[in-house]
Amino acid sequence: MHISPVLWQFLVHWLTNSALFPPEASAISPYMDAFYFFLCAISAVGLIAVAILVFGFSILYRKEKSPVATQIEGSTLLEATWTIIPLALFMICFVWGALLYFRIYNPPTNAMNIYIVGKQWMWKAEHPGGQHEIDSLHIPINRPVQLTMISQDVFHSFSIPAFRVKREVIPGRYSTVWFEATATGTYHLFCTQYCGTDHSAMIGEVVAMTPDDYQKWAAGSTSGASLAQNGERLFASLGCNSCHSGEATARGPNLSQVYGSRLQLADGSTVTANDAFLREAILNPSTHVMQGYAPIMPTYQGQVSEEGLIDLVEYIKNLNSNYRIQQTLTTSQLAPGQAGASSSGTPQVNGPARAGRTAPSVPGTVNQ
């Protein structure tokens, strides 16, 4: 699918400047639009064919001209023709559409990840660096961006027409979509799945910036703690560290470098530890017991908000050693209650006592 002749440039320029066509602002847009023109073309051909037949026959065989009807049984050859030609065209559409679909829904491995939480009636975006946004999304251009999305209540749908991408945001399950913006600007962000009273107010803007501007924005908008740092606090305050300490005698499995690895479960199946699995394992641990461990972990359903879960997932994702977990445990054993007094602001020591206080998104509640 290589498209770059002059004609194409001209068409794109003409269309994107007309009010009848959305801006092309992502890497996938030209491919989507090419497919759209193809579909329009075969539709036009089909419609014109039918129109010619109907109007042509209406003129040629109207009663005044053709008082006598000639009875015709049918024709297998013609039936075959108008079965096979549409079928062939539809098959081309099928293959072309499938290629696009797989491209849009299979993110590249180097994509930068942003979390989206949808709720009635706002979009919350959480950047790993700790930038939190509501009803807006800042992204750099020329870089693949993956969105990991979840809904806190009902079905929503995250749609950016200028990027030609959209994905349902579902309660209780991560869904992902990716895009690579190619032109700076501010674009519409819509919720396209009917979600109640203010459905049409669940809109926002996507701000595509040059990488430099994005860096400046990110530096200026951070809440001070990254998602992983929030996750670390939550990990300690929920007491996760007492079992998942990484020691050989620990009651829970070692979580260091667990992200992306293949895990053997107690029921004999193997799974890949991705975002969705980690989230599920926190909420429904009894159905995701690792082989060799007892099913003793309690459920955290209703105790951690979706943002809190994102923090935890992001923390586990970036957990490369258990050193700090053990440090935290040691500190809290040595001086329980005093850990919070020291070194506020820097997350070197994260005792349970001060967890959540400095975190911008307060964990421990549902349905905020």
Partner: protein
């Protein structure tokens, strides 16, 4: 092989002394009737009422969308308007439209029977329809419901405080009415055909109703189960669709669309049957490729059951299952294309006249072709990502359901009006209505394809100002469309008293229903007919007319 058909002189026609309309008098004789023709009339009156109710909601929606700001009604009211518009139009108008009125009236006569197989179940089906409608009207009068016609969970189960259970109950009950209609048609077509009426001598109208009936009987129970689960979730919280209780919200989508996609074919197949009859009659020619058209109906019914997940391509179904459903969706588009080309080929070497039913049928062919082809856009996986949940999809299904089905319904009502009432509708007036409807329709819904590709989401109360021009066009079109629909509402009742007397076969059509008096006797046939010719045999008709002593009346 040629036939000259001359229409009978209607000046000589007289209304028959006795017919199903005057065999009994009084309200009770109508409300307790077992006569399929009277039940068809009861249906005709009730669905017409709900069509105009649903249409009024559409009118308010279009008026609100005239401006980008939410200024005419409140957001909740707007949500209730499009919900009630959808629920009423789909469950109380489109699903019963052709089958319960025209189909109910002519199918027994077409197969040469005195009534449907189960006349009392037929009456029960109308009462169930009315009961379901009463629930919906009750919900409406008490503040309405705002789930969207799709009753999507968990919105409908946990997040809304409107009359969801009442409305779901209404749809549940109305569903049984359509199951009974389907059951009656299946048994009638299997068991009640007159001597000589083989399967391949059946009019194509019967074939398409047979296919639609299979869908009604097999699909509707799944909708009933789904709605019961929604009601149980709301009342006792069984949690089948609730992720926090181990349920799956996507399961609702699967169950709902397992009915609601076939429901599209329940709606369109009977319309396709009408088009076959109308095109053949006004071309004075056998339908081109009878078997292909007949089997394409069956193919649509069979494939129609296996494409439901194409409503869920962006909802996180596995990529590979999306692939399979997209492929099957492409396959279901083929039988529709076959039908369109066969109808077009029927015109070839015909002797065409352009009475109102034919104009509506041409409208159907054009609009349904656009509707079908834009369905290919949405069935193509990648394209669906951008187009689904926008106005593109709204335009697409209105082209199929309103441009296609409603045109076919109006074609059918006009076509069989002389048979039902014994009188003609005013021809030039109705031709004007047909053309007005067509123009109004294009103007209303074509701009929505464009605004959909621009990305305007459906079910939006307010929208970005750059979409206004296209929305104004759409609203202007809706006004014209409204006039197009109001015209028949005026001249059809007028024709009951002042219309020309039709005579038994004003179109010189070949179906058995045109060989008996108009309006028919309660028992349809004095003697059970014997079918000794193929369907659409205009030579047989010419021969019969030649040897008949009395030509009309």
């Amino acid at each position: 092989m040629s036939t000259i058909v001359t229409l009978p002189n209607q000046e000589e026609a007289r209304l028959p002394k006795l017919s199903y309309l005057n065999s009994e008098y009084g309200l009770k004789s109508w409300l307790l009737t077992g006569d399929h023709k009277r039940i068809a009339m009861l249906y005709l009156i009730s669905i017409t009422f709900f069509f105009f109710l649903g249409g009024a909601f559409a009118g308010v929606i279009r008026l609100e969308l005239l401006t980008p700001q939410p200024d005419l009604v409140a957001s909740d009211t707007y949500n209730k308007l499009f919900t009630m518009h959808g629920v009423i139009m789909i469950f109380l108008f489109l699903v019963p439209s052709v089958p319960a009125t025209v189909g109910n009236f002519v199918i027994p006569i077409m197969v040469g029977a005195k009534d449907l197989a189960f006349p009392k179940i037929n009456l029960l089906s109308w009462y169930l329809y009315v009961a379901g409608a009463c629930f919906l009207v009750y919900a409406l009068l008490n503040g309405g419901v705002d789930t969207g016609w799709t009753f999507t969970t968990p919105l409908s189960t946990h997040y809304l405080n409107t009359h969801v259970i009442t409305a779901a109950m209404g749809v549940f009950i109305a569903g049984f009415s359509s199951i009974f209609t389907g059951l009656n048609f299946i048994v009638t077509i299997h068991r009640m055909r007159c001597p000589g009426m083989t399967w391949f001598r059946l009019p194509l109208f019967c074939w398409s109703h047979y296919a639609a009936s299979i869908l009604m009987v097999l699909g509707t129970p799944v909708l009933a189960i789904t709605l019961v689960l929604v009601m149980l979730e709301r009342t006792v919280g069984i949690g089948v669709f609730d992720p926090t209780k181990g349920g799956d919200p996507l399961l609702f989508q699967h169950l709902f669309w397992f009915y609601s996609h076939p429901a599209v074919y329940i709606m369109i197949l009977p319309g396709m049957g009408v088009i076959s009859e109308v095109i053949s009659t006004f071309s004075r020619k056998r339908v081109f490729g009878y078997t292909a058209v007949a089997f394409s109906s069956v193919a649509i019914a069979v494939f129609g059951f296996f494409v439901w997940a194409h409503h869920m391509f962006i909802m996180g179904v596995s990529n590979y299952s999306a692939l399979v459903f997209s492929l099957l969706t492409m396959l279901v588009a083929v039988p529709s294309a076959i039908k369109i080309f066969n109808w077009a080929a029927t015109l070839y070497k015909g002797s065409l006249t352009f009475e109102t039913p034919m104009l509506y049928a041409f409208g159907f062919m054009g609009l349904f072709t656009i509707g079908g082809l834009t369905g290919v856009f949405l069935g193509s996986l990648g394209m669906d990502i951008h187009l689904t949940e926008t106005y593109f999809i709204v335009a697409h299904f209105h082209f199929v359901m309103v441009g296609g089905m409603l045109m076919a319904y109006l074609a059918g009502v006009h076509f069989w009006w002389p048979k039902m009432t014994g009188r003609m509708y005013p021809e030039s007036m109705s031709q004007l209505a047909a053309v007005t409807t067509f123009i109004g329709f294009i103007l209303t819904f074509f701009p929505q394809f464009i605004v959909g590709y621009l990305g305007m989401p459906r079910r939006y109360h307010a929208y970005p100002p750059e979409f206004q021009v296209l929305n104004v066009l759409s609203t202007a079109g809706a006004t014209v469309l409204g006039i197009g629909y109001l015209l028949p509402m005026l001249y059809m009742p007028w024709s009951l008293k002042y219309g020309k007397i039709a005579g038994s076969n004003p179109w010189q059509a070949t179906g058995l229903e045109w060989q008996i008096q108009s309006p028919p006797l309660t028992e349809n046939f004095v003697d059970i007919p014997v079918m000794d010719h193929e369907a659409y045999d205009y030579e047989w008709l010419a021969h019969k007319t030649e040897h008949e002593v009395t030509t009309v009346g």
